[in-house]
Structure formats: structure tokens, C-alpha cells
């Protein structure tokens, strides 16, 4: 089977936010109204219960034009996912659809994935057990893996009426992305295809109307070598020798060190 990926052509988004409602509806997520933030953007960031947000950015371009930039913000499902690398419990994995998913049973709520995500996507939800003690679980967009398994497209894609969101064969998507890039260059000279290679590409590819930084995206995200070494070599070895808990503590030290690599201001605000 050919690889399928999600494509977000932000130049086609009209900001209607049907994707947000469709996501909450399918995934049965609670509403989280926020305080007034001075814009029509509903949520400042993604949360454990709000897996996609349309960002609204009143942007003055370098040539003095005005653009109101919209972006469907959600998990990019990186091919080399920092969250997966950071997880000491192997609760995060890649599916056959290349989506990155969290196994709630295995997740201990340590939050390393939250700290390490290149895009600020993963967040912790707090629950209470029957004794009233709190526990936490990392949550984020699943690319509707449960729908993909049924041969359905992600809920956000189905709800999108302008074809800003597409779920298609990778080769077709890349060809379409390049074609669209050519078409929008006149209006958006800084337009680019966002498919960062430092993390081996993502399974959500964007056509952005301006530089990634304008959208609060890191220009060239990478998973630190220490993380890769940690996950792929040290952790399996260490677990064998020291046991999981000790390794989690060591992991936290490394994660915090790695976190400093993250660019400043990588969130979208108007």
C-alpha cells in the first residue's frame, strides 16, 4: 500500500474551524473555552483536549501588504518524532499509517514527550482515579488512526470544504504541493512547503504562505543526537541493566538539557 499523508494548504483555508468541531466530535473531547485573548483565535495553544486549532495571524508582509494568515495547527506526525524518542515507557509508537500515537495504558504521565515535542503539540490531561488521586496522561491528535483503520479519512479532512485539508497518497500530495506552490508564489513570495528534513519529514505536510517562523514553526527542527542515542541505544541497554525507573530519571535530565535547543516564540499568536 502506498504511503498516505495529510496535506494542509493554508492558502485554501478560510478559517471556518469546522475541522476543530469535527475533531472534538469524533474524538469526544470536552469544550475548553478560554479567556478573551484579543483575537478571534479560540485557543492560544493546543491542549490535551483540543487537538487542532486554527491560528489567526494579522501579518504585515515585508513588502507592506496585509495578510490575515490562518493555519490548521495540529500534530505533524514526524517521521523522527521527538516525543517517541523521549518516552521512557515506550508508550509512543508509529502505526502502519505512519501516525504517531500514544498508548494511554502505558503512559505514566511523566511529561517528557511534552517537553521534547518540536511543535508544542503533546500536552498532559489530568484525571482522577476512584480514590480521588490525580494522574496524568499525555494526549494529542492521533491522525484519527481509529478511522484510518476503518478505511475512513481523518475527521478534520472530511469536514474541510475548501480542500485545504487533504489525506492522499504521498506522491500525489507532494506533486500537488509543488504545483500549488507555483500558483501561490505571486501573492505569497515567501510561500514554502514545510516538510522538515531534520526530522526525516512529517506525515502532515504544509504549504505555508510565509516563512515557518511567521507561523511560529521552527525553521529546521531536529531531534538532538543525545535523544536518538538515548532512545535507540542507551535506553534498551540501560533498562536491561538498571530498570525502568532509574532510566526515567536519567531521561529527564537529558530531556531538560535538550529542551534548551527549542527555538524561542514558537507559538502562534496574533
Amino acid at each position: 500500500m502506498a504511503d498516505y499523508i495529510k496535506f494542509v494548504d493554508v492558502t485554501k483555508c478560510d478559517g471556518c474551524r469546522a475541522c476543530m468541531v469535527a475533531c472534538k466530535n469524533w474524538n469526544d473531547l470536552p469544550a475548553e473555552p478560554e479567556d478573551f485573548n484579543g483575537s478571534i483565535q479560540s485557543h492560544r495553544d493546543l491542549t490535551a483536549n483540543t487537538w487542532n486549532v486554527i491560528t489567526f495571524n494579522e501579518h504585515e508582509t515585508s513588502d507592506g501588504n496585509f495578510e490575515w494568515l490562518f493555519r490548521h495547527m495540529s500534530c505533524l506526525h514526524c517521521n523522527q518524532a521527538a516525543c517517541e524518542k523521549a518516552c521512557p515507557e515506550s508508550a509512543i509508537s508509529y502505526t502502519k499509517f505512519n501516525s504517531v500515537v500514544i498508548d494511554a495504558e502505558k503512559c505514566v504521565g511523566c511529561g517528557y514527550c511534552v517537553q521534547n515535542c518540536s511543535f508544542g503539540v503533546v500536552q498532559l490531561a489530568t484525571y482522577k482515579d476512584k480514590n480521588g488521586s490525580e494522574y496524568r496522561k499525555a494526549q494529542k491528535c492521533t491522525l484519527c488512526t481509529d478511522r484510518l483503520e476503518q478505511g475512513l479519512q481523518p475527521a478534520c479532512v472530511v469536514a474541510c470544504h475548501t480542500d485545504c485539508l487533504i489525506y492522499e497518497e504521498k506522491d500525489l500530495v507532494l506533486a500537488e504541493a509543488n504545483k500549488r506552490l507555483g500558483e501561490v508564489k505571486e501573492r505569497f513570495p515567501n510561500a514554502n512547503i514545510y516538510n522538515p528534513q531534520g526530522i526525516e519529514g512529517t506525515n502532515t505536510i504544509y504549504l505555508l504562505a510565509d516563512k515557518p517562523s511567521v507561523y511560529g514553526l521552527p525553521e529546521n527542527p531536529k531531534v538532538a543526537l543525545s535523544q536518538v542515542v538515548w532512545k535507540d541505544y542507551a535506553q534498551p541497554l540501560g533498562k536491561m541493566m538498571l530498570g525502568a525507573t532509574t532510566m526515567a530519571v536519567i531521561g529527564a535530565a537529558i530531556s531538560n538539557a535538550v529542551r534548551k535547543d527549542r527555538p524561542e516564540g514558537d507559538h502562534d499568536h496574533e
Partner: protein, 788 residues
């Protein structure tokens, strides 16, 4: 819509003015996007930069209430630069008609104006006729008294500098819009105009839309795929409700309501008054009599004038629209009110006063999904003193759309049947059931009354079954109409008779339910051509998808463009055929003298550049809104001279000296109407949880307002407090003599539900259009300050 949603994809240029489809009709963008993908230019004209503006190729800023100046300037541009469709204009419009010598226009006033009544004598806007009673014409369009030349003269004053000095549009942008849109005058090209309440909700609302229609006729854009004047309806079934006589002055199918005048004292006299000599409405007696047969069945006989006297009559000249009803309520003249899904305490103009008026009612019945600000107007939370209000309020819980069966008619006139998805919650009932139960109960109460005045209730046929749930199929069959003797369904309105042998509840829908099946239930999505989907649902009239589609073909009956085929004359088969149902007599060939008369509903068959039908004049003329920041640049007449004022106490007016800032109201994607539904749905409420005022950076700086501050907006009617949203999307208008600020705000909010906030309509004026009395929600004056 003259056209329909799917058809938008065929436009070469789309001008959105007085609408914001990306936010308020999002699904339309599926089709608009397709058009853009093919290279079409999208133009957004709006007081502020909206989500639609971001999707557009060109954005033009327009001060609220200046559409006629804007479009008048485009008409001027088209005429001056030869950017109009000459053949189309000469043959298909009334451009060549000679206007009789009574017509004049001077300093904002047309001939035969009566200042005391604020009325024109519209019969004095007429065409010159020869000795045979035929209209005199000049096909060369050179005669200074022909419509074309008079129109040219009228709009000569709308030069680009005067226009942009009034509208505040950047001059270069304005010229780019003119050039782009009038470019669709080229044969084979199509441009469409999309409008909504931003066009209609003005004291000059009707003339705004007239201006769009005139421009489209000049460009040859009516009747063709990708063209048209397209009203984006504000509610899923608002088209259907007006089709079915929702407005006080219409019965079903846009026919007149009788009045108590002498002329109307007999059915014959009434029919004579309402039936034109030519055009398709010359068949009106057939439609009207068939409707009376549907209402009164066997009680409608030739002897009793088909039950005509059973119909309620209006007082001649009296306005019974929303604002005038509230005026009457305010004066204590109304006892009771039944409301189906309406919330005037949030949605009505000068809502604070309308709320006050409600307490003069003896009783009110509210049918709604939720208790609204209106049905709770008497409660403490509403700021009322319950002990002081004697109104008895009865609340009936209603079904949501998924809980009931029936049809809705969309903006494209498609009547689409819907089925019940889930059983209603609790005791809630469908509107249809509530009306059915009420009608049966009332008929029962009057059953044995010998009184003459109770006859209308007794004679009313109501044979939709004996249970509390009406037989909807019976209702559908009656709407279509049938032969009274054989009970066979009629095939279409062409079969309706004026002798009482047929019935039809609504002539324009006649044909949706022939003997074979209810066509509104069809779901065949085969595209037979030009995306008209003729076997999907049913479009009135007669399943025609594009109105006036005769005009899609040239003077020989051949399509103007092979890429834009509507219907064409097939000489071999001697009939019109193509991708649509002809909006024309199918067998009318080139040898018929009316072969080139596409506008079959108009007397004379020509598109009306000049019209005697509108209250303030044959050509749209710019007047300032009721509350305005500048003197009218086009004449010394400030306000539309045909506008009526209504109850003085309801209608406080602010002056620019005290209220220097223009304000407007609008909707957002996430809420619907007064928010009664959407503010109660958590997933929508979280997307738009707060009431806010959009303020430009420049005004914010002047007033010392920062983002997220609480601000107070004040008008002559009242004040509200909300969050400040400082935005680059509002810009001050540089008008000819001064710079003017404008603010805007959504009108969805009230104190009930999950998402709550101040009600914008506390601010809006209680005055409306001179023809429809739709309130002027879209342009008024205010002042803004930071809340302490």
C-alpha cells in the same frame, strides 16, 4: 439567488458585497474555491477585512451605507469606458424604452414627490406610448429620453473621486475593482454578485440590490451560468419561508394580500388590481383561485368568490412589518404574540425598547429549543421586575431540525426533503405538529358557531389526519396541487385553472409533486451538464436552476459561449433545450415577436434598468443612512425621502457631534442568528465565547484603548460593554472632507446559554428600508470609550 450554489464555480469574477460567505456561508467556498482554481477573480467589498477578504484577490474598503455610491460609480465606469454588453443591453433590457415627459430628477428628488406623506406617485414613472398603446423605443439608444441615456446622465455624477470620497475606498483599488468586474461584459464571460444582509439592512436596502441588478444587466450577466444576482440567505429555510408567505404583504408564491380598499371589496376588483396585462403574472387569477381552493376546499365556490371574503384583509397602506408590530405593542395595541424560533430581545433593532414593548402584551407563546432572552424577558436576570409584568408567557419546547421531517428550500431555490434522524427529546414537538394541533383545537372551538366572523376558521380545510401528528404527505400534495374532481396531482403551474377546478397551495412549487413522486426527495447526483443536477431535489419554478436562462443565448437562440450553455434554440426540433429547464416558452421560436424577451415575469419581457416598482425612484440614488457622519455628496437630501419613521419613542436618533463613529453589526461562523442554539452548544461556544468590539489600531490609540480592555459603546439608544479587539482589519476611512472611524461587532450575544455577552442590538436604530422595512442594522453612529 437567480442562480444556485454549485453554479458559482462557473464565474470569471465574483464580487462579494454586503456579505461574508467565508464566515457566514462557508460551504459556498467549496464552489468559490473551484472558480478561483480556474482563474476567477474574487472581489471582497466590506467595511472591514473579513475571512472572505483574505480569500479574495482584491479587497475594497467601503464605509457602511454607501453601496449605491459604490455600485453607481461602477455603472458610470461601465458606461464611460464602453465596458457593457451592447447586444444584451439593447435587446434584453428596457434600455431602449423612451421614458415619458413627466419623469425628472433634480437634487436627489424624482418627480411627483409628496413631502408630507413621504411618498412618490409611482404611476408617474412610466414609459411613453404610441397611439396603439405600444412603448416607444429607440433601438440605437441615442434618444436623450431613452432609459439608457437617462441612466447615463443619472450616474454621470458618480465619478470616481466623488464616489471614493463618500465610500472611503482607496481610489486605485476602486478602479481595479471596476476594471476587473466590468471585464465580464465581454461576450462569453460571466460575473456574479453575492450579497446578504450587508446589502439589505439599510434604509436604502432595496435600492442597493436594484443597483446590483442594474450593473449585472449592463454586463450581460443575468441568466447565464456563473452570473446572476445571488442572495445568500441567512437561514437554512429563509427562502422557503418567504416563498410561503412569511412576509405580511405576501401570500404564498409572492402574491398580494387583499386590503380593505374599495377596489379589493370584490375578488374580481382585487384580481384586476394585482394582475398585470402582460408577463407571466398575467396568469395570477389561476394561481390565486387555486390557492383559495387549497385553503377553503369545497367552501370556496364560484358563488362566494372562491372564499375570497374569508381571507384576512390589511388596512390599505398600513405597514405590519416587525418594527411596526413592536411600535404597536409599545403603544399597547397588541394583546398577544406567538413566536416560532425568534428572539427579538437579542435580534430586534433597538432591542432594549423592543423588550420594554413585550411587557405590554397580555400573553406570549414562545416556541423554541431553549428558553431565550425573549421568552425570559420578564425575569429578574433580564433586568426586569417580575411583579410589575402581567404578561403570561407560555413556553412550548420545539424539535431541532434532526428530530423532524419536512423540506427546506435553500438560497438556490432547491426544495430538499429531509427525514427525521432521531426521535425528539422529552415533550418537544415539531413546528408543524404545533400548528396542526393548534389549528385542530381552534377549529373544534368554532365548530358550532353561527357567527359570520367565525367563518374563516370554520371554512378552513384541515384534512391532514386525525392524530396530533399531521400527514405531511397530504400537506405536500396540496402544496403541489391537484384536480379537485379526480384528485390527480397536477403536473405544473401551467395546468392551474381560475374556475375552481384545481387547487394548489403555492403555485411556484407546483410541479414538485406530480402523480409519480415527491421530487424534493430525489438524490440523483448525476451532473448532466453545467452542474445543474436536474434530478437532485426540485428547484422552483418548474425545476429551473438558473432564472431567466433564455438570456444565456443570443438573439438567434445560440449560446453566447459554448462553455456556458444554458438553453439553446434547437431549430430541427423546434424547441429550446440544453442543460437546464427553459425559463421560457419551450416552443417559442425566432418567428415569434417575443423571441427576444427573456424576462418573462416582467411586463414587456425586458430586464428593468428603469423600474417604476420601487418606492424611492426608478434609479437607485445614494442617500446617507439615518445616522450619518457626513453631508450627502450627491444632493442636499440626506435621508432616503421615502423612508417612514414609525413610533417616535422607539426611534431615537444620534447626531455626529455626539456620536462621531460609524458602527455596524455582523455574524460570525461559529454562531447563528441570536445565538439561541449555538450559544448553547459547547463546541461552538468555545470557538467564539466572548462578545467583542472590533476597533482599528488608529481609533484605539486615539481613545487610549488597549487590546482586551473592556470598552463601552454608546448610541442614542443605549450602551453596552464588551472586550476590545484591536485589529488591523478595520482602517479609518479617508473621506473627501474628513477621516471617519468605524467599528463593528457581532450581534449574536445575550445573557442566556454558555457563551454570554452584551447584546449589540441594544445599540441599533429602529428604522428601516422604504420598501421592506428591514431594519438598518448595518450603519449607525456611536461613541466608544474605555470602561473605567
Amino acid at each position: 439567488m437567480t442562480n444556485h450554489w454549485n453554479d458559482l464555480q462557473y464565474a470569471d469574477a465574483l464580487m462579494v458585497i454586503g456579505a461574508n460567505p467565508a464566515e457566514n456561508h462557508p460551504i459556498s467556498f467549496r464552489w468559490i474555491s473551484k472558480a478561483k482554481q480556474k482563474g476567477a477573480k474574487l472581489i471582497s467589498v466590506d467595511p472591514r477585512y473579513t475571512r472572505t477578504s483574505q480569500m479574495a484577490n482584491i479587497y475594497g474598503q467601503l464605509r457602511s451605507g454607501t453601496d449605491i455610491a459604490f455600485i453607481g460609480g461602477m455603472i458610470h465606469y461601465a458606461l464611460e469606458n464602453d465596458m457593457y454588453h451592447k447586444e444584451y443591453v439593447a435587446a434584453y433590457t428596457n434600455a431602449s424604452f423612451i421614458v415619458d415627459e413627466q419623469y425628472s430628477f433634480e437634487d436627489g428628488i424624482f418627480n411627483d414627490y409628496d413631502e408630507t406623506t413621504r411618498n412618490y406617485d409611482k404611476t408617474k414613472w412610466a414609459f411613453k406610448k404610441d397611439e396603439n398603446g405600444e412603448i416607444v423605443k429607440d433601438p440605437a439608444l441615442k434618444d436623450p429620453r431613452c432609459v439608457f441615456q437617462l441612466m447615463k446622465k443619472h450616474y454621470a455624477r458618480y465619478d470616481v473621486d466623488t464616489v471614493t470620497g463618500v465610500t472611503g475606498t482607496d481610489k486605485d483599488t476602486y478602479l481595479e475593482i471596476c476594471q476587473t468586474f466590468t471585464g465580464t461584459s465581454e461576450t462569453g464571460k460571466a460575473g456574479t454578485i453575492l450579497y446578504a444582509m450587508g446589502g439589505t439592512q439599510h434604509t436604502v436596502g432595496t435600492q442597493n440590490i436594484r443597483a446590483y441588478a442594474i450593473l449585472q444587466l449592463l454586463l450581460g450577466n443575468i441568466g447565464i451560468a456563473g452570473g446572476g444576482v445571488n442572495a445568500l440567505r441567512g437561514e437554512s429555510n429563509v427562502q422557503g419561508s418567504t416563498d410561503f408567505g412569511l412576509l405580511y404583504h405576501n401570500v404564498n408564491g409572492y402574491m398580494e394580500v387583499p386590503t380593505g380598499s374599495d377596489q379589493d371589496s370584490k375578488y374580481k376588483g382585487f384580481l384586476e388590481r394585482i394582475t398585470p396585462e402582460s408577463g407571466y403574472f398575467s396568469n395570477k387569477p389561476k394561481f390565486y383561485t387555486s390557492m383559495l381552493k387549497a385553503y377553503y376546499g369545497n367552501s370556496a365556490t364560484k358563488q362566494n368568490e372562491f372564499g375570497y371574503h374569508l381571507m384576512p384583509k390589511l388596512t390599505p397602506g398600513k405597514d405590519y412589518s416587525h418594527m411596526r408590530l413592536f411600535d404597536a405593542m409599545y403603544r399597547g395595541e397588541l394583546e398577544g404574540l406567538i413566536m416560532f424560533g425568534t428572539n427579538p430581545v437579542v435580534g430586534g433593532p433597538n432591542a432594549g425598547k423592543e423588550k420594554e414593548a413585550l411587557s405590554n402584551l397580555k400573553w406570549m407563546v414562545a416556541v423554541d429549543l431553549f428558553e431565550t432572552e425573549t421568552s425570559a424577558f420578564w425575569q429578574k436576570e433580564a433586568g426586569a421586575d417580575p411583579a410589575a409584568i402581567q404578561t403570561e408567557v407560555i413556553f412550548l419546547p420545539a424539535c431541532g431540525s434532526f428530530e423532524k421531517e419536512g423540506s427546506v428550500t435553500n438560497s438556490g431555490r432547491w426544495m430538499q426533503y429531509r427525514w427525521q434522524a432521531i426521535k425528539p427529546k422529552g415533550e418537544s414537538r415539531a413546528d408543524l405538529e404545533i400548528v396542526h394541533m393548534l389549528a385542530r383545537k381552534l377549529k373544534g372551538l368554532y365548530e358550532n358557531s353561527p357567527k359570520q366572523q367565525d367563518m374563516p376558521m370554520k371554512a378552513l380545510t384541515w384534512d391532514y389526519g386525525e392524530s396530533d401528528h399531521p400527514d405531511i404527505d397530504m400537506v405536500c400534495r396540496e402544496i403541489n396541487g391537484y384536480d379537485m374532481k379526480t384528485k390527480q396531482q397536477i403536473k405544473g403551474f401551467g395546468d392551474l385553472k381560475d374556475d375552481g377546478s384545481t387547487c394548489s397551495g403555492n403555485w411556484i412549487y407546483s410541479g414538485f409533486y406530480p402523480e409519480s413522486e415527491n421530487l424534493s426527495k430525489r438524490r440523483d447526483n448525476t451532473n448532466e451538464g453545467m452542474s445543474n443536477f436536474l434530478n437532485w431535489s426540485f428547484a422552483w419554478p418548474a425545476n429551473r436552476r438558473i432564472l431567466y436562462n433564455r438570456a444565456s443565448a443570443d438573439l438567434n437562440g445560440k449560446a453566447w459561449s459554448k462553455d456556458r450553455i444554458g438553453i439553446q434554440w434547437n431549430a430541427a426540433e423546434k424547441k429550446w433545450s440544453g442543460f437546464d429547464v427553459p425559463d421560457f416558452v419551450a416552443a417559442k421560436g425566432p418567428d415569434d415577436p417575443t423571441f427576444n424577451d427573456p424576462f418573462i415575469m416582467m411586463a414587456g419581457g425586458k430586464g428593468a434598468l428603469f423600474s417604476g416598482g420601487v418606492n424611492e425612484g426608478p434609479f437607485p440614488e445614494h442617500y446617507e443612512p439615518y445616522e450619518n457622519p457626513i453631508s450627502n455628496a450627491f444632493s442636499s437630501i440626506q435621508l432616503n425621502p421615502a423612508v417612514k419613521f414609525g413610533e417616535k419613542e422607539m426611534n431615537a436618533q444620534g447626531d455626529v457631534s455626539e456620536y462621531p463613529i460609524v458602527a455596524t453589526t455582523y455574524r460570525v461562523s461559529e454562531h447563528w442568528q441570536s445565538g439561541a442554539m449555538t450559544r448553547n452548544i459547547p463546541w461552538l461556544a468555545e470557538l467564539m465565547p466572548h462578545m467583542y468590539i472590533e476597533i482599528s489600531e488608529e481609533l484605539a490609540q486615539e481613545k487610549g484603548i488597549s487590546s482586551k480592555d473592556r470598552v463601552i459603546v454608546k448610541t442614542a439608544r443605549g450602551e453596552i460593554e464588551a472586550f476590545a479587539m484591536i485589529t488591523k482589519r478595520f482602517k479609518p476611512y479617508k473621506l473627501k472632507d474628513k477621516t471617519i472611524h468605524q467599528i463593528g461587532m457581532p450581534w449574536h450575544f445575550g445573557y442566556k446559554g454558555i457563551a454570554t455577552g452584551a447584546t449589540a442590538n441594544r445599540l441599533t436604530p429602529h428604522i428601516g428600508d422604504a420598501n421592506t422595512t428591514i431594519p438598518e442594522y448595518k450603519a449607525f453612529l456611536c461613541d466608544v470609550r474605555r470602561a473605567k
